[in-house]
């Protein structure tokens, strides 16, 4: 198609069409003009702009009713002209502007928009949009004079009405877009002239008149039906904050003085329409806006589409940035929005929130602007007050956002947390809320039911199998979502990070002791507080001023641990099996540190301890199990916090934990095992075994003391078993001491506790066999030799010469002494300990035999002595076990026949009885033991050959 470049040519082409259109205003004629316009170059058209526009405008202006299709095509034509040309005249712009607006007004003029077709509306809106873009340079600003206020106002209300009331998404979007252009905030690619300060202020003044209308209408759009699509909401939000920023910007308001811009006479009528943005006006507007903002925030932060939430974050960002002074009332809502969205599911929103929060925090607006800090602490207070109610009523998603909000507020408050929490009311509410939220569900029977079977070999598991910080999965009464727990965890840690540790620990310790109802939750909170205080696993916006010193932490942890491992909190009834011991335990409570803690213990006794409950319910047992688990997890946490420093606390903690590792309740034993691993890692031991070995002296102490208490004997023997299983011969001198305690305890309770002690004894003698007879290391070459000898001569009767043995021992002692002499100074206990075993000058055990017995043999002998008595126990299990032990004893003692033989002799009658008339099982076992006898007993007494008459 030919293109007419020069205006003359173009004029020639266009003139007839225009004339035709002026005469007869039909759609066809408009279309003809439109067609001809295609052939005209842009520059030519620019020259002829007014000429071409004339017939079109004329068509619009003709009085009387017009057909919609005509209007539509005319407007379309105008749009196409304007899109390629620019408006250079102020009058033309204003006239076109009002003419276009009029297209949509209803004939009555009062009720815009007119009930026109959607196409027409869309076309007109687009035309307006194009018009605004085609305005040349400064010309556009002429539209923003007080004198044009009515025109603008009309356009604004028209567009708002369209945005609000239309059904079609397209129209809504177009109207909003157009409004955006109208307030000079267009974000399109085209070049817009940036406004200078004065101009901006002028526009601000002007739009102040529209602010109420725009904001109310937009808030209605934003909070409208979700079905309108997220795009509409997003642009409405954008428009909202742009408008607010334009009018309420702190920067502008600061320059406005009381008596500025007196209305001049001739414009007085119009000037009345212009708002003077004085402080009063700002105040009242901010109040009203605050309501709207609140509404928008509430709605948008729960909007399912992430872009809406993103836009909300943007809103907060801009308003906080530009209007934080004028909108101080709304800052609370704004912060709430962004803080609540910090943990949004969408990563974009999250990172944006973080960015904004960080920028707010960096600005120190919160910390220095008293108002903001007040707002936050007020928020915190009301939130803490509402939290319990919300936790009851909201769904998990709602709870999640509520807690996010709490966390965010705390984070924003930062170091001010400690000041806020100095207020008793705040702390009280917050802690009570946490207590309620963290309430565990203790109805599960399985927790109580599940037992641990078999020996606790799990301790030997490799370190990697358990991860730190996992803990047992807990079931809460008020929520299921794991994320909620993580949030609460963060809340506690942030509290610990910023708060006054002493105050908080004291407070929660108070709750811990106040009632069984709070105990578990308080312990959970305490664990996290400490973790937070150490700065571990917390995500914060600004650094605290002073970190808690390790010494303080250690002190706090020590006192918490003391409380955790206190009798009343550590030995709880967790199963009905132990009911027999529970009454003994109750008695124990009264002897809790009878002398040393006189003042303290009275309060403990009086507090209703769950274990003193004579009839434990499933619920209370479940609760007790959880309490122990949480406390165990606490130990792990504290170890993690203190690292190697925790080694010092092992004195008091290791024993209780190891004790729980052998607990019969599966959950407890699992948790305790996990704790052992945590402790082990924190203290820098390479394996749990190493941990136990290096601290066996502490354990021995615990065992020995607990053996003195009837109720704790089973625990003590369990710990000893675990120790023996995980240790080696170097442990013997230490254990020897305790074994004497075990034996004397056994002597006191032959009747009812034999079975629990037999477990230890059998582990013990098995360990002795392993350490001294079936040798692994090179520490006991003498035994190894004999062992080989024994193996070679297996099946036949071995006859080691007594003298040989004696000579060997003498040599051994000599060598040992030489070795000792070479040691420069025995600095370590271990060395000293190793030097121990056979020291003739101090050995009082050698009194009866001519050769002094080494320690392990003496132990075996002592154990065997007890076995003789127990062989006739009335319990089948005990008898079987005794036979096991007996066999091991014989193996250990076989090298010391001077001692073995008399013992064997004494045991014989009882053994024979077992063979003759007992349960078949026992007979079988006894027969095996007797075989052992035959293998190891060197010279058999005559009656050995004829066991049964």
């Amino acid at each position: 198609m030919a293109v007419f470049d020069t205006p003359q040519e173009a004029f020639g082409i266009l003139r007839p069409v225009c004339v035709q259109l002026t005469k007869v205003q039909t759609t066809e004629n408009v279309e003809r003009l439109q067609a001809q316009l295609q052939t005209v170059s842009d520059s030519a058209l620019q020259e002829l702009q007014e000429y071409v526009l004339f017939p079109l405008r004329f068509a619009l202006k003709t009085p009387g009713p017009k057909r919609e299709s005509l209007v539509q095509s005319v407007v379309q034509c105008i749009t196409s002209i304007l899109s390629t040309t620019c408006v250079k005249k102020q009058d033309l712009l204003q006239e076109l502007f009002s003419e276009l607006c009029l297209c949509l007004s209803s004939p009555s003029g009062l009720q815009p928009p007119a009930p026109l077709s959607e196409e027409l509306k869309l076309t007109v809106i687009q035309a307006l949009h194009v018009l605004m873009h085609s305005a040349y340079g400064d010309i556009i600003l002429t539209l923003y004079q007080p004198s044009t206020l009515p025109h603008l106002g009309f356009a604004v209300s028209l567009l708002l009405a369209l945005a609000e009331q239309e059904k079609a998404k397209q129209i809504k979007l177009a109207a909003l877009k157009c409004l955006q252009v109208l307030i000079l905030q267009c974000d399109c690619q085209e070049h817009h002239r940036p406004l200078d300060t004065v101009e901006t202020r002028q526009c601000g003044n002007l739009f102040a008149s529209f602010l109420p209308g725009i904001s109310i209408a937009l808030s209605r759009v934003i909070t409208g039906d979700i079905k309108q699509g997220h795009m509409v909401t997003v642009s409405a939000i954008r428009l909202f904050y742009q408008t607010v920023c334009l009018v309420m910007a702190d920067e502008q308001l600061a320059t406005i003085t009381q008596d500025e811009e007196k209305p001049s006479g001739e414009q007085s009528r119009l000037s009345e329409l212009v708002v003077h943005r004085g402080p009063d006006w700002v105040k009242s507007t901010a109040d009203k806006l605050s309501l709207l903002i609140h509404k928008i925030v509430e709605f948008a932060s729960l909007h399912p589409h992430w872009k809406v939430r993103m836009e909300l974050v943007e809103l907060v960002h801009l308003l906080m940035l530009k209007c934080s002074q004028s909108l101080v009332e709304s800052v609370g809502h704004l912060l709430k929005a962004v803080v609540g969205l910090v943990n949004d599911e969408s990563n974009e929103v999250q990172s944006k929130c973080h960015e904004i929060l960080r920028s707010i925090a960096e600005l120190r607006t919160v910390a220095e602007n008293r108002d903001l800090a007040d707002v936050l602490s007020e928020n915190l207070h009301s939130l803490a007050t509402a939290l319990p109610r919300l936790m009851n009523s909201q769904d998990d998603q709602g709870k999640f956002s509520t807690l996010s909000l709490l966390l965010g507020s705390l984070k924003l408050l930062g170091p001010k947390v400690s000041i806020v929490l100095n207020s008793a009311a705040h702390l009280q509410r917050l802690s009570k809320a946490l207590m309620q939220v963290l309430e565990l569900d203790v109805a599960d029977v399985k927790i109580v039911e599940e037992r641990r079977w078999g020996p606790e070999d799990s301790l030997g598991e490799p370190l990697g199998s358990l991860q730190h910080g996992k803990g047992q999965k807990k079931y809460f009464r008020f929520f299921i979502d794991e994320r909620i727990f993580l949030l609460i965890q963060q809340v506690c840690r942030v509290l610990g990070y910023y708060g006054n540790l002493y105050l908080l620990v004291d407070h929660f310790m108070g709750l811990y002791n106040e009632s069984v109802v709070y105990r578990k939750q308080a312990a959970m909170v305490l664990n996290e507080l400490i973790t937070g205080a150490a700065g571990l696993g917390v995500d914060v916006l600004h650094e605290r001023e002073t970190a808690v010193s390790t010494e303080d932490l250690k002190g706090t942890i020590t006192s918490i641990l003391e409380e955790y491992t206190d009798q009343a909190n550590w030995y709880l009834t967790t199963s009905i099996d132990t009911e027999g011991t529970s009454d003994e335990l109750t008695v124990k409570h009264s002897r809790v540190r009878a002398i040393s803690r006189g003042a303290h213990s009275s309060s403990l006794i009086s507090s209703s301890s769950p274990s003193s409950d004579p009839n434990p319910t499933i619920r209370s047992m479940n609760s007790n199990i959880w309490q122990i688990c949480i406390q165990l997890e606490g130990v792990g946490c504290f170890a993690y916090v203190l690292g190697k420093e925790f080694r010092l606390l092992l004195v008091s903690v290791l024993y209780p934990v190891l004790e729980k590792a052998g607990d019969s309740t599966l959950l407890i034993s699992q948790t305790a095992t996990g704790t052992m691993v945590d402790v082990c890692r924190a203290c820098g031991y390479d394996s749990v075994q190493n941990l136990i070995n290096s601290n066996s002296d502490y354990l021995v102490n615990g065992i020995s003391l607990n053996l003195r208490r009837v109720a704790h004997q089973p625990h003590a023997s369990r710990v000893l078993e675990a120790m023996l299983r995980h240790s080696d011969a170097s442990l013997l001198p230490l254990v020897e001491d305790v074994i004497r305690d075990v034996l004397s305890a056994l002597d006191q309770f032959y009747d009812d506790r034999a079975s629990s002690f037999l477990g230890v004894l059998s582990t013990l003698v098995a360990a002795l066999v392993q350490w001294f007879v079936v040798v692994k290391g090179k520490e006991h070459p003498q035994e190894q030799n004999l062992e080989q000898q024994r193996k070679q001569g297996k099946g036949s009767v071995i006859t080691p010469m007594v003298q040989e043995v004696e000579q060997f021992f003498l040599d051994y002692i000599k060598q040992k002494q030489i070795a000792e002499g070479n040691l420069p100074a025995m600095e370590e206990e271990e060395e000293e300990v190793q030097a121990l075993p056979p020291e003739p000058e101090m050995d009082d055990s050698g009194a009866e035999g001519e050769t002094p017995l080494p320690a392990h043999a003496q132990i075996a002998k002592d154990v065997m002595e007890r076995c003789i008595h127990l062989l006739s126990d009335k319990s089948l299990r005990v008898r079987l076990k005794v036979l096991d032990v007996l066999e091991f004893c014989v193996i250990v003692l076989h090298l010391h026949e001077n001692h073995l033989l008399p013992m064997a002799h004494r045991a014989w009658p009882a053994l024979v009885t077992r063979l003759i008339n007992d349960d078949p099982l026992v007979v079988l076992r006894a027969f095996k033991a007797e075989e052992g006898y035959e293998t190891f007993a060197v010279t058999k007494p005559p009656q050995y050959q004829q066991p049964a008459p």
Partner: protein
């Protein structure tokens, strides 16, 4: 029902020999931890770190012969120890050293423990059994010069000194020595004149141990019989029996009055530690843990009363540490145990 007695706070193991003597040192400031010195029958001195409850150092300087007295001098860096090899050693423990820097040879072969008294900054008096069986010698430390030799008159025949206690009424005044003898008498010596001021026959059997409270000027002594005697010293420097307490089982190996003069602990041959109120000798508790004779008891001098401990060493190789009656509120109003030991 009276409350049952408590268990030890913890037990120190690993001396692998009978424990004959104990001495606390808690004087250090915070980073320093309280320590306990123990001397045992195998001639070793163990330095226990009471924070970790483990042995820090082992000192071997008495040739495998029993150590039956240890005391810190010059803070924690110097230690005096007396052993059955007839030597009193001065140890240098500063900066991880553990060497004997000086020693005194005692010609006595008895069991009598020395007694140390600080008379001035850097000056001590040490009473030790002398060359003759019934003689007590007092040395000035660190110069090791003999201050005096206290020998009873020939006709007195109190036998060997069994236990010694140097004391002075006020800091700087003339020191006195209280000595318990084999014949069961306690003699008050004036060091300046080397004269006997008073002699009190308070036991039928040798005086195994004694302790003296210089504030109330009264002391307590235990012997191998079943009587604990409290005697006082009046203004005329006369010793008088004030009260005796009959025990069920005979034999008191050691007595110790706590620094705050509130309670008294005794080490019994019957394996038990007994606690009495010092004011009226009211029995407060019987601490039953050891499985053999208790050889010694000692109270710590920790600056915080709540951390003052009692340690007892026994023939069963263990040292038990007790935390008792150390709450500051601590009126000793509740007698804990009135049960008779069997």
């Amino acid at each position: 029902m009276a409350l049952p007695p408590p268990d030890p706070q913890f037990v120190l193991r690993g001396t692998s020999a009978e424990v004959h003597t104990l001495h606390f040192y808690c004087g250090g400031q915070e980073p320093d931890y309280p320590i306990l010195f123990s001397g045992s029958s195998n001639g070793l001195i163990h330095v226990w770190n009471l924070k970790t409850r483990r042995v820090d150092t082992i000192l071997d300087g008495h040739g495998g012969k029993s150590v039956y007295w240890v005391e810190a001098i010059y803070g924690r860096d110097r230690l005096l120890s007396q052993g059955r090899n007839q030597k009193i050693c001065l140890w240098d423990l500063a900066e991880g050293r553990n060497t004997v820097t000086d020693s005194v040879f005692t010609e006595n072969v008895g069991f009598c423990k020395c007694s140390l008294l600080k008379v001035a900054q850097g000056h001590w008096l040490m009473a030790m059994p002398g060359k003759d069986l019934d003689e007590v010698q007092v040395l000035e430390l660190p110069s090791k010069t003999s201050v005096c030799t206290l020998k009873p008159e020939a006709d007195a025949k109190p036998g060997m000194p069994m236990s010694l206690k140097l004391w002075q009424p006020d800091f700087g005044s003339c020191p006195f020595l209280l000595a318990g003898y084999e014949d069961g008498s306690v003699i008050l010596w004036n060091l300046s004149g080397g004269k006997i001021l008073s002699r009190l026959a308070c036991h039928q059997e040798p005086v195994m141990s004694l302790d003296f409270d210089s504030e109330k000027t009264k002391g307590v002594s235990g012997s191998s019989e079943e009587v604990l005697t409290v005697w006082s010293l009046d203004e005329q420097q006369n010793l008088k029996v004030q009260k005796t307490h009959k025990l069920v089982n005979a034999g008191i190996a050691d007595v110790a009055i706590r620094q705050d003069k509130k309670i008294l602990a005794t080490a019994g041959w019957d394996h038990r530690i007994r606690i009495f109120g010092w004011k009226k000798l009211k029995p407060l508790a019987i601490l039953d843990y050891h499985t053999a004779t208790v050889h010694c008891v000692s109270f710590s001098d920790h600056s915080r009363p709540s951390e003052r401990l009692l340690a007892a060493g026994s023939k069963d190789h263990r040292i038990s540490i007790w935390s008792i009656y150390n709450q500051t509120s601590g009126a000793l109003h509740c007698p804990l145990e009135t049960r008779k030991p069997d």
